[in-house]
């Protein structure tokens, strides 16, 4: 199977506009669908949001009105794609249920990317980050049981375990230590560029979601937990965006964005279990192929370079949503106590880290700890899903 997006043609751009009837998609079943279908929807929404925001930034840095118009045409279609994709989510789900699904995406997508990432420095960045999303899932799951009396396993369906990761209170680092070193655009494996863009986009959407939905809660502990984790998502966006080589030109970045969209729609089309959703992935792939060709033309015109110089010779192995339980247990066993120092990682709490911790916590327990105490007051236990046995770290086993 070799699918090369550069050699395929899709739906001509002037035939991509959809009317209201075509936009009015049937949402997925909130409780009985494949959890990974919901994960793919959340991922593609994040990718489309990034496509739109990136195109806006590019337009704001563009002088030529014709180029602005060309960008606006593609961007409008991308805005429609975002509406169709995100509107597959059912209105009946609560914000907290969607949040738990976002964290399942963060865990299983980042774990998959870490497993497939060829570059050891980049792989470490994903391994480091995934243990934090893993802990967020645990905290939100406990909040969910407290507020809605439902268990997170009804959402993640035993595909993802729910137990402590690196404790959320230790995610608050001095911003200086959140900036990573970038890959080298001339040396990096094309797959590494796609990985960085994908995870950056997913985390950015998570940040956007929490910063906007957090205050819709009335329960003080819920409002506070969204504030705390929302701030950590900002750290994650800083962490992942700094992996991308800033020496890539705007046009090169545009081509990478469009190529990544083709890659992900193709990946998800290949594995989708819901036929209606699969039809959307296929349709959007056929739209993205033309967006990619338009972007390639712009790169040739304004950079005077061939897109083949920066893209993969053929589509890499598909991104897959699948359980990563044993992989995550391995990380829980070995990387729990890491923090960042400059662009690297250390096991000891250093001065800058401790100062930040002291300032942000102000001598109090943060919301991520208080949510567990409040849950314990009500239920006399924690909520966990440990389908593969005890927690790998003896210190984090249930007392």
């Amino acid at each position: 199977m070799t699918f090369n997006p550069l050699e395929q043609r899709g739906i001509p751009l002037d035939r991509q506009l959809r009317n209201w009837r075509e936009m009015n998609v049937q949402p997925i079943d909130p409780d009985r669908g494949d959890p990974y279908t919901r994960c793919r929807i959340i991922t593609m929404n994040g990718i489309e949001v990034e496509a739109i925001l990136f195109s806006h930034q590019l337009a704001r840095n563009t002088v030529d009105p014709d180029v602005k118009r060309q960008l606006a045409r593609t961007r409008y279609i991308e805005a429609q794609q975002q509406k169709v994709v995100n509107w597959l989510l059912p209105g009946v789900s609560s914000v907290l249920e969607t949040t738990i699904a976002y964290e399942q995406v963060a865990v299983d997508l980042t774990a998959w990317v870490a497993r497939m990432e060829p570059d050891p420095y980049l792989r470490q960045a994903y391994q480091f980050g995934v243990l934090e999303d893993f802990d967020h899932l645990f905290r939100y799951a406990n909040l969910y049981e407290m507020i809605e009396h439902r268990k997170a396993e009804s959402i993640v369906d035993n595909l993802t375990e729910v137990m402590p990761g690196r404790p959320t209170k230790f995610h608050h680092r001095d911003p200086y230590d959140n900036v990573r070193d970038p890959y080298d655009k001339n040396e990096a494996n094309p797959l590494s560029k796609l990985h960085a863009l994908t995870i950056m986009s997913a985390e950015q959407q998570t940040m956007n979601f929490y910063m906007n939905t957090g205050p819709t809660y009335m329960e003080p502990i819920a409002r506070q937990l969204y504030q705390e984790i929302g701030l950590i998502e900002e750290e994650h966006v800083t962490h992942y965006e700094s992996l991308v080589d800033p020496g890539e030109t705007w046009w090169e970045q545009l081509v990478n964005h469009e190529y990544n969209e083709c890659y992900l729609y193709y990946s998800f089309m290949e594995q989708e279990s819901d036929p209606k959703v699969q039809a959307i992935w296929e349709l959007h792939l056929n739209m993205e192929l033309e967006h990619l060709h338009t972007a390639c033309d712009m790169m040739r015109r304004y950079d005077g370079r061939e897109p083949q110089e920066v893209l993969a010779p053929e589509l890499p192995k598909v991104v897959t949503f699948a359980p990563n339980k044993q992989y995550l247990r391995g990380l829980l066993d070995t990387q729990m106590d890491l923090t960042t120092l400059g662009a690297g990682y250390v096991r000891e709490a250093h001065e800058r880290f401790e100062k930040m911790q002291e300032q942000i916590h102000g001598g109090q327990e943060p919301p991520s700890e208080r949510v567990m105490a409040e849950h314990d007051d009500v239920f006399g236990r924690e909520y966990r899903v440990q389908s593969e046995g005890e927690h790998p770290d003896p210190a984090l086993r249930e007392k």
């Binding site: 409780d31 009946v92 507020i147 809605e148 009396h149 396993e153 009500v378 239920f379 006399g380 899903v385």
Partner: protein, 196 residues
């Protein structure tokens, strides 16, 4: 994995001083019971369904007696909000009546149950979004606690784990006993609200 079940609202150690928080947890309890009915078979399904019918009857009665009158009285435009919710409840009750007359092993039972699950879930979310927010906005802590007490009095009418001997009588599900249960619930609520 030995994950303990989530205690029924009122059966956990939450303070239950806020009627909205209490009702939201009960919405979760109802969904949990739908899952139990769906995942069980034979006699177990009959008893789980029996519990579901009783919890639904009691919960809806409590809302009709406590929540809807408050919203109608205190919230501008509350009349329409309540009308919409009552229409949803009526639809759910009709499905419930069909189910009541059906054997839980009947092949038509599950599709009907799934329809009811969907109706009840949509109704519950609509209540949370369009009705409960007004309750918190238009009342104080004391009133929230009084209403919570009334809802808890109603819940006591639907025991979480009735004696097995009683439960196995599948015909208890029939409308007669449920209607009587609703009446008893109304009395209990009115007494707790001090209206009696």
């Amino acid at each position: 994995m030995s994950e303990p079940r989530t205690h029924r609202a009122g059966g956990d150690k939450a303070k239950d001083t806020d009627v909205v928080a209490l009702l939201m947890r009960q919405h979760g309890d109802i969904r949990n019971l739908f899952d139990e009915v769906e995942q069980s078979k034979g006699k177990e399904r009959r008893t789980a369904f029996h519990r579901l019918v009783r919890l639904l009857a009691v919960h809806e009665t409590a809302e009709e007696e406590v929540v809807h009158p408050f919203v109608r009285r205190m919230v501008p435009g509350g009349e329409q909000v309540v009308e919409d919710r009552l229409a949803e409840e009526k639809a759910a009750k009709e499905t419930l009546a069909t189910l009541d007359e059906m054997d839980t092993d009947d092949p038509k039972f599950m599709p009907q149950l799934m329809k009811l699950r969907k109706d009840v879930q949509e109704h519950a979310r609509a209540e949370e979004r369009y009705e409960f927010i007004h309750i918190r906005r238009h009342t104080d802590a004391i009133n929230l606690a009084v209403m919570a007490k009334a809802v808890k009095a109603a819940e006591a009418m639907a025991p979480t784990h009735p004696h097995p001997g009683v439960e196995s009588l599948a015909r208890n599900v029939a409308l007669g006993p449920v209607a009587a249960l609703m009446d008893r619930t109304k009395d209990a609520v009115r007494k707790a609200m001090g209206n009696d």
